[in-house]
Subunit: 136 residues, 2 copies
């Protein structure tokens, strides 16, 4: 049985649905209507990533634990480690997830939540993932 | 010489000015104009707190390391530990800072930054601080 480490901001609940390739967890940290800003903790099991997607305003990732990757369509992947911050631009197709050998946790911040729409596309294939992480 | 531990999101630069009672550090994590949301890491040396203040929209604190306190005017202080989240309501006078014996770090998120004005008031006196943390 695999061991899942509890991240500092908490693990939350398993993410259901088809937008992740395997085990991942979501914990909502803040969703005050008056702030129009949603904050959550996302934890990916090793090798797990989300599908290609984009946000109409953008999103902020704060990498708190483990090693992961972030890739914008058509660009080389970025290796992410504890302390890294990603400002995901508006309407840029991308994915993020764990390194093959590391659980990975980031805080996600969705600003202007009421107008910040996510669009989800195809999964990141094993070939795409291997290429993204292969040379790092 | 006191030892300052590097927090996971980084220490940043010393905070100058009169709104903190002692050593504290600020690292800006995100300040994209298009997001209208500011994110920073604040680290307080043991015993250090900021002055009474308020935000016109409110603010989110994510406690990542150490033990601290948050107090709203007229209420008992809340003891904060790793993993705790505080949604600070709009226009509520409050302070936050470290426990007497612990360095304390939180991420601060300022939503609707362009309209979210901070107002700073008096320092938290030693008597107020001792009362806040005394029974915890």
């Amino acid at each position: 049985m695999k061991e899942t480490n509890e991240p500092i901001m908490g693990l939350g609940n398993p993410i259901e649905g088809k937008n992740f390739t395997g085990e991942a967890w979501l914990k909502t940290l803040s969703a005050e209507p008056g702030f129009d800003c949603q904050v959550y903790n996302v934890t990916f099991a090793p090798g797990v990533r989300n599908s290609w997607h984009e946000h109409s305003v953008g999103q902020i990732l704060l990498c708190t634990e483990g090693v992961g990757y972030y890739q914008e369509k058509g660009k080389p992947a970025q290796r992410l480690k504890t302390g890294d911050v990603v400002n995901i631009p508006a309407n840029v197709t991308h994915w993020h997830g764990a390194a093959p050998d590391s659980q990975f946790t980031h805080i996600g911040i969705t600003p202007k939540a009421s107008e910040n729409e996510a669009q989800w596309f195809e999964p990141v294939t094993d070939v795409e993932y291997a290429e993204a992480v292969g040379s790092k």
